[in-house]
């Protein structure tokens, strides 16, 4: 398939797939919890873009997109934000109580501190 034959809905859908992959990688590969929260948001943004591609392709009846997936994405963005706020508050509490900002086992963390 040549590039010119791709419409922007498909292009952004593919971008969403790539972003979901990158976000998932951040969530898995980074130990720092704050970065994982950012990664979770990028993962969500990618999934929403795939929805957006589906909505754009569903343009009909004089609308430039299917309003149902669009409304679902709006709901999703708000829910993702409230999950992020809860996660940040949990991280803050973890940090206040233990001084750590990752879920590493404390022993391994201490060793890491002692080495350098």
């Amino acid at each position: 398939m040549s590039l010119a034959s791709l419409d922007s809905a498909t292009l952004f859908g593919l971008t969403g797939a790539a972003l979901a992959g990158i976000g998932l990688f951040i969530v898995i590969a980074h130990a720092g919890l704050l970065r994982r929260i950012v990664g979770f948001n990028i993962l969500g943004a990618g999934i929403f873009l795939v929805f957006g591609a589906a909505a754009r392709r569903g343009a009909a009846a004089g609308f430039s997109g299917d309003p149902v997936p669009q409304a679902m994405v709006i709901t999703g963005i708000v829910v993702a934000f409230s999950a992020t706020a809860l996660a940040v508050a949990l991280l803050q509490r973890l940090f206040d109580l233990t001084g750590r900002e990752s879920l590493d086992a404390p022993a391994a963390g201490d060793k890491q501190q002692a080495e350098p």
């Binding site: 797939a17 299917d66 803050q92």
Partner: protein, 310 residues
Amino acid sequence: MTLLLDLALIAGLLALAVHVARASDDQSAIIGFIAFGLLLGVGWTRLAAIDVAMTEAAIGGGVTGMLLLRAEARLRERSSQARSAGRITKAAAAIGCTVVAAGLALAVLSFPSPAPTLAPAAAAALDATGLGNPVTAVLLAYRALDTLLEKVVLLLALLGVWSLAPDQFWGGAPELRRADAPQPFIYLARILPPFGVLIAVYMCWVGADAPGGTFQAGTVLAAMWLLVMLAGLRPAPETRRTTLRLLLVGGPVLFFTVGFLGFAVADGFLSYPEGAAKPIIVGIEAALTASIALTLGLLVAGPSGRAPVP
């Protein structure tokens, strides 16, 4: 020409996502994420989803970015830099994530054609609701149950955040204000809120017929409130105050009440009587906007940070 714009946007989005993955410090990653959110907002306009674009720019880029930046600043004096995953784990994760992304891409490429769509169904019933914006109609009429439950999720998240306060601080005010807010910032907090409130009211009102609506308006209001609190012009409210709690549950409670009234005056739960749908929807929107603004602002403010003043 538009293809070029799309490709530039996509390149920017992917580059920023990779930057978030690779940046050595969290602050740089979060700033990259804020830029990502704003760029994604532009991307949504390219998908002809203006309502989503506004929500993404306001919440995804704006409020989430602020929340993360504040968290990063508080965690800055950390004991040790978090240990990163080992090389083998990273390689395995990369392979796994590539597979996931490829699967999603395959799904995107094999979307059925012609695309299934609910747009005609949404258009057919639009006249009955009296609304002009199909997205608002989906949010507050056809799928009002989703929106109602989402409000409940917001409240539950706020309960979760509040319950993380230490016992002696329960019911106190969240700690928001820096000791020394710079002068230009205080000036901004004085002149911007009137415009912000005006824009929010306009967005809420116009949302019935054009892009806009409760979430976008609520976010703008929340931003103005946070600005005023951060500049120290008004103190953050104590979380035990009854008026605050009543306002928080006000939107969802009104929504529930209207929903149950539907049994009496219309076909069932959350159905509106014929002819009166638009005024009811606008009323619900107004109440929801206020409680969304409060909930979002308090979610960013976090759990209470000092003991309640008796």
